[in-house]
Structure formats: structure tokens, C-alpha cells
């Protein structure tokens, strides 16, 4: 059955800059914003934009992610025709390799795309937080008759040095781009998303595959060769909230952004972010609890203090426990008298009574470089009275 546009979601990256958080789970399956996982954002955007055929390219630690996506029902992507498909690397005849890069991952699944004979292919990342109507971008792509359209956001000069920067002409046609330039020529940053006219992309994917020197990466290789090949590449200006959450710091910051509904509204019925939610009862706020500027969800029991924090489902904060500027993922327990500050506590971790995790940046005014968010990996127990300092990460019990 023919589809106008098929989305390919790159979910195979290792996410090594998230360290212990991605030790046992693919990056797109990381919990986010109290109720979601990272992959809910692109999947919900697809569903809300009317794109009903999505291939999810997985390779690294895929089990939890595969189980999470299931039939695609939470995102309304369980379709008779199209729907969500998990696409791991596989053996073709005698050959077969792992995905060598983002472009190679799509190259290896050209047969999947061809089944729908699409005119356009949308390439998405699995680690971006944003709400975007892809249909509008597709409209512009059609109108400008570009071979590739890349959504961009305006960033500060300082941020520009850490991102892929696009230089455009007066018609927003891309004339040049640079990855992490020391002296940025523009402040338009690529959002790491691409719309391609399929015929064009196909040609460049095949060429790229034939080049043994290529890293088979969209940003580094496909973009460069398309630009050199004289293809029309257009920028699509996006002005909403967008965050790449590929590092501990940015993941923590983006979660903090969710606390004020002004940056991105996760509860607007007009553009919902869907998620597969566990069955948990309503949460309970106890007698001596204080909850301030925080998100709390189903299954939580709060008897202690929670400030500027995001609690995921089934978290327990016991009486006299104190949590501030932290992200506490599903099932974690913060026991009586424990202190958690500027930290990420992963799923089912237990912070025993009197233990301390993380520290506020104020303590590090003399040596700010030594400060960072503390991380306790999933299932880890921090014993009574033990200390996990700022910027420390632990993947082992500390008893």
C-alpha cells in the first residue's frame, strides 16, 4: 500500500554519553518528564502529524525498547496498513552487518521503505524533546521542491559552538553547514531531523554505501554529498521548545524544564504526548509532606519533602527524606532521612536512610567545574549513611 511519507526513527545509538543510565537500556527507552520515555516524543509527533508508518531502527540493548513499543497501540500506531515496525539489523543471504552508521541503518532497510513506495522519508532521532507538526514541515518541503529539508532553531552564539550550524540564503536555502564550529557563521542549529524526497535520498544512500571511506552518517556524509551534488536543501524554521538530551546534564535540565508548563505543555489535549503507562493507583501526599514546584504521578507515596523535582510512577519518599532538583525514576525508594539533591535516581534504586546523593552547585562556587549531577543507576542500593558526591555515578551497590 502506498504511503506519501514514511518515518524512520533512529533508535540504535548506544547513548554512551549517558553512561550508567544506558548501561542496560537503549537511550530512547530512558524515562523522561514523569510519565514518558524519550521515544514517546517522536512517536507521538508522528501520530499527531498523521504519519502512520514508522520504522524504528534498533540495535543496542533493544529488549526493553521493543517491549515498550509493542504493537504501537499507545501511540495509535497499531494499524492494519502501516503502523510501527521494529527494524533490527539482520542477515541477508550470506551477508549482514550491524548498522554501521545512521545512514547505513536506513540503507539496510530500503526494502522496508520501498514496500510503501513513499514520495518522502522523514528521518527522526530518538533523543529529542519537542512537539512538532511534521505535516507542516512536509508542506514546506513540497512547496520549495527541496531534496532535503532540515528543521532549525535559533540558538545563542555560545550554544552554536556545540551544535550543527546551518548557513542559509535569503530564501532559507542552506548554502553551508558546519559541525560544532569554533566561530559560527550563523545561529541556526540543526534539530537532527530530516525530510527527504525519497528518490534523492535513495540515490545518495546507495552512493554513500559504495564509498568505503564514508562513516555512513546522515549529518557528516549524506548532507555533505547532497550539498556538493547541488541538491536543493532548505531550512525549516521551528520556534517551539526543542532539546537534545544526549548527556546527563541536558537530560537533567530538560526534565527541570518540564516543571514550568510555559516551556512545553505536556498536558495540552491538542497535541498530547502518548506513553505506555503502568497500572498504578493515584498518588498519596501524606501528613508531613511538602511538595513544591514538582511533578508527581501515579503510584507515588510522598511523606517527605520534594522540591523542584520530577517523580516518576511508584516512587516512595519516606517521612523526613528530602529530595530537591532531582529526577527520581519509576519504583525508586528514598528512605527516611535520606537527602537527594541535584541527582538522577534511576529505576528501582533504593536510597537507604541517612544516605546522601548529590550536592547543590552553591557548594562548588570556588571550583564550579567539579560540580555535576549525581547519578545512581537502576536497581542500585545506596546503604544507610553512605554518600554519593556531586558528579559521581554509581552502577554498583554502595553498602
Amino acid at each position: 500500500m502506498k504511503k506519501e511519507c514514511v518515518a524512520m526513527l533512529l533508535a540504535g545509538g548506544q547513548g554512551s554519553r549517558l553512561y550508567v543510565l544506558t548501561a542496560h537500556v537503549a537511550k530512547p527507552a530512558i524515562p523522561f518528564g514523569g510519565k514518558f520515555r524519550l521515544i514517546d516524543f517522536p512517536l507521538s509527533n508522528c501520530a499527531n502529524s498523521g504519519i502512520d508508518t514508522v520504522g524504528v531502527l534498533t540495535q543496542y540493548q533493544p529488549h526493553e525498547l521493543n517491549a515498550y513499543i509493542g504493537s504501537g497501540q499507545p501511540w495509535d500506531l497499531d494499524r492494519l496498513d502501516g503502523g510501527v515496525h521494529i527494524l533490527p539489523p539482520y542477515i541477508k543471504g550470506k551477508e549482514g552487518t550491524w548498522y554501521k552508521g545512521s545512514a547505513n541503518a536506513v540503507y539496510q532497510n530500503m526494502a522496508f521503505i520501498e514496500e510503501y513506495s513513499p514520495e518522502y522519508v522523514l528521518v527522526l532521532g530518538g533523543d529529542h524533546i519537542y512537539k512538532m507538526d511534521y505535516a507542516k514541515m512536509l508542506e514546506q518541503h513540497k512547496k520549495t521542491q527541496a531534496g532535503c529539508t532540515i528543521p532549525v532553531i535559533e540558538v545563542s552564539q555560545d550554544e552554536a559552538t556545540r551544535m550543527g550550524i546551518m548557513t542559509v540564503d535569503e530564501n532559507d536555502v542552506i548554502v553551508d553547514f558546519e559541525e560544532k564550529p569554533a566561530h559560527p557563521k550563523s545561529t541556526l542549529a540543526s534539530m537532527g531531523i530530516y525530510v527527504f524526497t525519497w528518490e534523492k535520498l535513495k540515490k545518495y544512500l546507495i552512493e554513500d554505501e559504495a564509498n568505503p571511506k564514508s562513516k555512513n552518517d546522515f549529518g557528516a556524509n549524506i548532507m555533505t554529498s547532497m550539498l556538493k551534488g547541488g541538491e536543493k536543501m532548505a531550512a525549516y524554521r521551528f520556534s517551539g521548545y526543542w532539546r537534545d538530551v544526549g548527556t546527563i546534564e541536558s537530560l537533567w535540565e530538560a526534565n527541570m524544564d518540564m516543571l514550568s508548563g510555559e516551556k512545553i505543555d505536556l498536558s495540552s489535549p491538542a497535541w498530547r504526548i502518548y506513553a505506555k503507562t503502568p497500572t498504578s493507583p493515584p498518588h498519596y501526599i501524606g501528613d508531613n509532606a511538602t511538595v513544591s514546584h514538582s511533578l508527581v504521578t501515579e503510584g507515588c507515596e510522598v511523606y517527605g519533602g520534594v522540591f523542584n523535582s520530577v517523580l516518576f510512577n511508584d516512587v516512595t519518599v519516606e517521612q523526613g527524606a528530602y529530595v530537591e532538583y532531582s529526577i527520581v525514576m519509576p519504583g525508586a525508594v528514598i528512605e527516611r532521612g535520606a537527602m537527594v539533591k541535584y541527582a538522577i535516581i534511576a529505576e528501582n534504586a533504593v536510597i537507604k536512610s541517612g544516605a546522601k546523593v548529590g550536592a547543590p552547585p552553591e557548594v562548588f562556587t570556588k571550583n564550579p567545574d567539579e560540580w555535576g549531577v549525581a547519578v545512581v543507576a537502576s536497581g542500585v542500593t545506596i546503604g544507610p549513611g553512605k554518600v554519593v558526591g556531586a558528579r559521581e555515578m554509581t552502577d554498583d551497590d554502595l553498602l
Binding site: G34, P282, I285, L295
Partner: protein, 371 residues
């Protein structure tokens, strides 16, 4: 555990529930921050491995249909079996002129053609307006083990529940006597959940039709006592069937007790409900919340004490609420002062309003009203 079929009676209402059942039956009343009453028995059945469930409805069932849908939120949208909604068009009886069934036997006569196709050997009959977390699998096992014809689920006699049917029990919880009213210290209140074989149910229905039987407790249990081997299963947990607005209020407030929550929201037997894809609840710096049960998707900027808050509720700053039940999408504007009140779905209480009910007479505000 696939040999049991569930039938839920979801047609009943109670005039004393007033505003709460204006637009719905007792089974589809909201309860406990994120549920409808019927979620409890439905989940009990699903948690016991029951895959085929028929829900009998008669009037005012729009809200129930909307809630249950295809049954997918209870994992009951199945090709084989699953959820079957049984509205009155299937009723071939002679009492079309009446708006409700006079009793559950009458409701069962109405679904004879459905019953013929039941593939399981045993049937659980239960009321849809019963709020309880039952270990139905265990009850079924004890039914088989005891060799009883009918197992009736009861509460302990210390539970002090009034109204309804009571059982006097003998050795091994054999039913000695069925009492239809009057609180008796030695009797066990019957909560209206029965397990029996399909074969026996069909026979009992055929028999009671001859006597114009209408109510299961009176026309089967009581009439057949001595002739059938009836056993009671005594359930020790929380159970309620709200009878009036004040009773609904009181039973809801029981959720503030940790032991009641632990029992009703037993993590091994979770209560499932219709999903709504809400974000988390946000507590603003100026909020102040104590002893409250809150669902997702709320924005809380005011003060709450001893409240039960449903999904999507907004409480603006300066509002002070105590002992309130705020149903789905209620909006409480700035500086409202509210106590002992129940706001139904989509109620708005405008700025500065003061409303105070009492435990004995909580104020119920109808669905969609603006105060």
C-alpha cells in the same frame, strides 16, 4: 483459570445517590481519584484470569458504554471471548415498559441467548457497583475444593455493613440461613458475588421462572436453602456499595486510611481503568497539600487537606479545600473556600465562592455546573 465466565449486573441505580447518578448508573460513578466503580469488579475478574465477561445494562448506560469501549483497557478486546456489552435490545421479555430490571434474575432471563453461548463451566455473578478488591482466583479454588453448589462471598460479621442480605453460617462456612434484611450480629453480610456452575444456573433460572422469581437472593438462595449445598467465602478486606451521597462521601474518604488503600489498590491485583494519557500532576510552590489522594494531570496551586482529586483538576492559588472530592476536570478558581463538597465532572467553582457542607450532608454539585 480459564473455566470461569463473568457476568456483571451494571443496570442498577439508587435514588439516594441523587446528583451522582443523574447522568449514569451506580456502576459508572467515578470513584477513588481515577476509577469508575465498575473497574473494581471488572479488574477482579481479569486478575483472576477470566477472559469472557458480559455486562448487563438497562438504562442510562451512555456513560458506561463510553467508559468500557471495546474493553481494551482491561485487555478484554479479544477475538475469542472478551468483553460483551448487553444492553436491553437483547431483552425478549414481556416487561419492556419498565425502565429497569426488578432484580438480577430478571436481568439474567433477558440474556438467555447470550448464556447459551458461554463456553466456560463456571459463572461468577457480581454487581457492577461493588467496590472491592477480591482474590477471585482463590475464591474459585475454594469453591471447587468445597464441592459446594454455590459459593457466596461475604464480609466478616464485624464489618457492620447495613442493608442487604445476611447469611448465618454453620460448620465450614456452610450457609444455614439466608436473611434478607435486618442487621444481625451473628450473620455475615453477603456482598453479592456468587460462583456456581453454568449448568446449575440454567436449571435455577428455569425453575425460578416458573415461580416468577425476580431476585437471586430471595428467589434462589432463600427458597433453595436446605436443598442446595451453599458455602460462604469470607473476605476480610474493604468492601462497599455506596447507598447515598453521604455514604459515597464516607466510603471515598476511607481511602485516606493507608490500610484501605493498601487493600483496595493491592499491587498484586491492580485495578485497571480507562486510560487518559495525562501528564503528571504539578504542585506549585504556593501549594499546600496534606493527606490527599491525587490522580494525574492536575495543576495544584491552592491548599488541599483530606481531599480526593480526580484526573485533570485545577486548583488555583489561594483556594482552600478540605474534605472534598473533586471529580475529573473540576476547576476551582482563586480564593474559593470549600469543605465537605463533591464536585462532579467539569464543575467550575468561580473566584471567592464559599461552600461548606457537613459529613452528614456533603454538598454534591452536578456535572458541568458553574457555581
Amino acid at each position: 483459570m480459564k473455566n470461569m465466565h463473568g457476568i456483571l449486573f451494571a443496570y442498577s441505580s439508587n435514588v439516594r445517590l441523587k446528583e451522582l447518578t443523574e447522568h449514569r448508573t451506580a456502576s459508572s460513578m467515578p470513584f477513588g481519584s481515577r476509577y469508575r466503580v465498575i473497574d473494581f469488579m471488572l479488574s477482579n475478574m481479569v486478575n483472576a484470569g477470566i477472559t469472557d465477561i458480559g455486562v448487563i445494562m438497562r438504562e442510562n448506560y451512555q456513560s458506561l458504554l463510553d467508559h468500557l469501549g471495546s474493553g481494551k483497557d482491561w485487555d478484554l478486546a479479544r477475538k475469542r471471548g472478551g468483553l460483551r456489552l448487553l444492553p436491553p435490545f437483547a431483552y425478549a421479555g414481556t416487561r419492556r415498559e419498565l425502565s429497569t430490571y426488578r432484580g438480577n434474575l430478571e436481568a439474567l432471563y433477558a440474556i438467555t441467548s447470550y448464556m447459551e453461548h458461554i463456553r466456560q463451566e463456571y459463572i461468577v455473578l457480581a454487581d457492577g457497583d461493588l467496590i472491592v478488591n477480591l482474590p477471585l482466583e482463590e475464591i474459585f479454588e475454594s469453591h471447587i475444593e468445597s464441592g459446594a453448589d454455590i459459593t457466596c462471598v461475604c464480609l466478616g460479621h464485624e464489618s457492620g455493613v447495613e442493608g442487604g442480605t445476611y447469611l448465618r453460617l454453620g460448620l465450614q462456612n456452610r450457609v444455614r440461613e439466608v436473611l434478607l434484611s435486618g442487621l444481625d450480629e451473628k450473620a455475615y453480610p453477603c456482598i453479592g458475588v456468587y460462583i456456581l456452575s453454568k449448568k446449575l444456573l440454567e436449571k435455577l433460572l428455569a425453575d425460578s421462572a416458573k415461580h416468577n422469581g425476580v431476585i437471586f437472593t430471595r428467589d434462589v438462595l432463600q427458597r433453595m436453602q436446605g436443598q442446595l449445598n451453599m458455602t460462604a467465602y469470607i473476605h476480610k478486606g474493604f468492601s462497599t456499595r455506596p447507598q447515598s451521597v453521604a455514604d459515597y462521601f464516607k466510603q471515598t474518604m476511607a481511602l485516606l486510611k493507608p490500610d484501605v488503600r493498601k487493600d483496595l489498590f493491592n499491587r498484586k491485583r491492580p485495578i485497571k481503568t480507562k486510560l487518559r494519557d495525562e501528564a503528571s500532576t504539578y504542585y506549585a510552590p504556593e501549594s499546600h497539600v496534606k493527606r490527599s489522594v491525587v490522580a494525574d494531570g492536575c495543576i495544584i496551586k491552592g491548599e488541599l487537606e483530606d481531599c480526593i482529586v480526580f484526573r485533570g483538576v485545577t486548583v488555583e492559588k489561594g483556594a482552600k479545600l478540605s474534605n472534598c472530592i473533586l471529580m475529573q476536570d473540576t476547576v476551582i478558581r482563586e480564593d474559593v473556600d470549600l469543605s465537605f463538597a463533591i464536585t462532579d465532572k467539569e464543575v467550575e467553582v468561580t473566584k471567592g465562592r464559599i461552600l461548606k457542607g457537613h459529613e452528614s450532608y456533603p454538598i454534591a454539585i452536578s456535572k458541568g455546573s458553574v457555581v
